[in-house]
């Protein structure tokens, strides 16, 4: 854009990286001061690898880099940071036992001859947090207490330093909702104005339109396109990335909802989830929107028994005649085992710590939730297992060398697909999806949606938490909105708009009256008739 004559801040020439096979090849690219370069491409295309090379985390096999015209060969992340090249990584790397402040300033804790100056530490940290609109968080809070979305914000805040020349953001918004995203974008604008060059990796194409000056597309480790963002249509980008057309879901009709399969009455846990009523119907997708920390994850964990509720009850119906529950569990499930036996599944938002056996292969991870299907009298049937794993890999287009590849070495989006694959392998009646498309590319997302459609057609009930409103609006038949632990509104398809959803999400406990006074078109405010196992909001 405005980079005309000046020396580019960063230029890459013929970069390449090989693991067992080449994953990056012949990438040449320049990055100018004060611009945002969007980097996009399918899962496993090499975006993270390229970003890591720039930031000294991975050593390239071939090629050179110049930073401000000088040869740039960072041997470590620290090296790169010393020269002002920073990165927000796709996978979280916080130290959960340390406080937010300590994490923010981990490598430069303010100290006097080794003794930490707490006052200064907390002041600096608070300033850092304020930059991204997190002033409500006490810098002394241990990171373990934060939800994963908030952790992502801390990770971003850590890298908003004054001396930055190049900032790489690898899918920073995969876990963020619109409020946090707009804080981040404000910061990006400020950095741009200061002449920082920014690389922005994301699968959310609408964001790219908003923030990027140029866009670069990677495919199979090669740069296939670099162009100005202005005027590029999304469909074009997708075509370049995936190499095929991906059909839109946006304008679909409401699915025909069947009887209730699962409902919760007054379910709650401490302050995180406050007495929620919710019904999940066969054959439909219910969405859950809300801000980071609004309690969506906590709610699905209760519905799955991952945490124990301390009040309320869960009712399970046979899905034929929804009058009498076949199972009624007070205070929720005792354990996930009980819930799974009852036909419930959960795709967790935190694949790394709650979803995957990182050191194990795709095969082991994909078949984990139903070993019964691949064993006989306790002995694993290896051929059958391999067959199933291969089928799942093909079905979800998991990019890998073989089914024996350890999932730790897969790209983020492909790891997410492995978690999802597990619940395709195991049949369940009700599937809870917490940020199921976190870090998944457009093409793969379409595959995933197609799978979800197949599930609803088969009469399953789906509950989908997502921070991506577009995704919810495209996929769901109803969208519930959570705020401060309460389900503040439920909208029917056709009765929502981005504004109305956001407005509900921003109404916290205090503004709840306002939300319930104007339930836009939302039919049932969740706590209007507590304790009644009836299907209050059947269409």
């Amino acid at each position: 854009m405005n980079a005309g004559l000046a020396v580019p801040v960063l230029s890459l020439s013929a970069l390449g990286k090989d693991y067992a096979a080449p994953v990056l090849d012949d990438v040449s690219l320049v990055l100018n001061a004060g611009e945002v370069l969007a980097l996009t491409g399918e899962n496993g295309a090499g975006k993270s690898t390229l970003s890591k090379i720039v930031c000294g985390l991975v050593q390239p096999t071939r090629g050179q880099m110049l930073l401000g015209g000088v040869a740039f060969q960072p041997a470590s992340r620290r090296d790169a940071e010393r020269l002002g090249v920073r990165m927000v990584m796709q996978e979280l790397g916080l130290v959960t036992t340390l406080s937010v402040a300590e994490n923010l300033l981990l490598d430069r804790l303010p100290n006097q001859t080794g003794w930490i100056r707490r006052g200064k530490l907390h002041k600096l940290a608070a300033r850092q947090l304020a930059k991204i609109g997190m002033e409500h968080i006490d810098p002394a809070t241990p990171v373990a207490r934060l939800g994963i979305g908030q952790q992502q914000m801390v990770e971003i805040a850590r890298n908003l330093q004054d001396d930055t020349r190049v900032l790489v953001l690898d899918e920073p918004t995969a876990m963020l909702t619109p409020r946090e995203t707009s804080h981040l974008f404000e910061q990006i604008e400020l950095l741009k104005a200061r002449g920082v060059a920014i690389v922005y990796v994301s699968h959310r194409l609408e964001e790219l339109q908003r923030i990027a000056d140029r866009v670069a597309v990677l495919r199979d480790g090669r740069l296939v396109d670099v162009r100005a963002m202005a005027g590029v249509r999304e469909a074009e980008l997708v075509q370049r990335m995936v190499g095929r057309a991906v059909h839109e879901h946006e304008g679909r009709d409401r699915r025909v909802a069947g009887p209730v399969l699962l409902s919760a009455r007054g379910i709650g846990r401490a302050e995180a989830v406050k007495d929620i009523d919710i019904d999940l119907h066969a054959g439909e997708v219910m969405g859950l929107a809300g801000l980071v920390g609004s309690g969506r994850t906590e709610l699905v964990r209760l519905l799955f028994g991952a945490d124990r509720a301390d009040r309320g009850e869960i009712l399970l119906y046979d899905g034929i005649a929804a009058t009498q529950p076949v199972l009624r569990v007070r205070k929720g499930w005792r354990s996930p085992m009980q819930a799974i036996r009852a036909g419930i599944g959960l795709v967790t938002e935190d694949r790394k710590s709650q979803g995957l056996l990182l050191t194990q292969s795709i095969r082991v991870n994909a078949t984990l939730s139903d070993l019964g299907a691949i064993s006989h009298a306790g002995w694993l049937q290896r051929a059958k297992e391999r067959g199933i794993a291969r089928r799942l890999v093909e079905l979800l287009r998991i990019r890998s060398r073989s089914i024996e590849q350890p999932v730790a070495t897969l790209s983020g989006g492909n790891q997410q697909k492995v978690v999802f694959a597990r619940w395709l392998h195991r049949e369940c009646k009700v599937l809870l999806l917490d940020e199921p498309t976190r870090g998944v590319d457009v093409g793969a997302r379409a595959d995933l949606y197609a799978e979800l459609d197949r599930m609803t057609d088969a009469g399953k009930a789906l509950l989908m938490v997502s921070s991506d409103l577009r995704e919810l609006m495209a996929m769901c038949d109803r969208i519930g909105v959570m705020s401060a632990g309460r389900l503040v509104a439920v909208f029917e398809r056709g009765h929502w708009s981005e504004q109305s959803l956001l407005a509900a999400a921003f109404s916290d406990a205090a503004g709840r009256t306002a939300a319930s006074a104007t339930p836009t078109a939302g039919s049932a405010i969740s706590d209007s008739n507590p304790g009644q196992p009836a299907t209050a909001d059947t269409p």
Partner: protein, 327 residues
Amino acid sequence: MTAAAATSAPPSALKGQLGTYVGLTVVLVGMVALFGTLSEYFLTRETFISIANEIPALAVMAVGMTFVLIIAGIDLSVGSVLALSAAVTAAAILQWKLSVPVAAALGLATGLVCGSVTGAVSVAWRLPSFIVSLGMLEAVRGGAYLVTDSRTQYVGDAISGLAAPWVGGISAAFVLAVVLVAAGQLVLTRTVFGRHVVGIGTNEEAMRLAGIDPRPIRILVFAATGLLAGLAGLMQSARLEAADPNAGVGIELQVIAAVVIGGTSLMGGRGSVVNTFFGVLIIAVLEAGLAQVGASEPSKRIITGAVIVVAVIIDTLRQRRADRRLA
């Protein structure tokens, strides 16, 4: 990521799997060669038979401990359990006048109960198994003193059958130990249970959310280890024809050393029973060799320490090289 290679490679990867034994084999062969030059009688049939007959107790405990370490646990009580099981067997024969098979069954049951208690307590209160088994180490040893009245009980050859030389001088105990090693390896790599064990050691929360209750599996692993320690107790008292209340003091560190030399991680999630057996062999050959050449006590200690570390270094370096080739 040798974890995957060692614990769950498909049969097609047999060659790769053999590769994982190379490092330890080198150490073992090196040691045998060294002792062979130091002592003219080391490279004899007698030496190998006597080593073979000395290792069963260590080997069967190491099989159990491999599983325990893979689930990121530890069991310090195996030595005490060994002693108590042997003591109960002896008491059953000598004082309660029970038949030998019944007495042996009682000894095994003792081991099983001890292991189950360790497992159940650590699962029930979610305590680290280190501390629970440390408590058991003390308490069970106390039990062994009680049962034997702190006196070595001479049982005689009523129970020596297990240790008696069989075909070619090899004892039934050795054969049993080898069978258990093979069975352990198969259970670890080929069964649902083994898959669960590895999974729990890798990421317990992920297993729980995949619908697998880690608690019974944990308890089972400790119970099995207790049972195997009980079996080791039988093997030892069969060999020595006596039950010593101080048997197996400090043996837990030896068992763990064997398992770790075999490449099993203390952090859980990876390990191999066959490699553990190599670790057992290394320790047994070292002990036998040093006794045979008549090394002085200080030099025995220093050499043992050095060999443990060097064996692990050699194995680690080899693994890393293999990993790099793979990557």
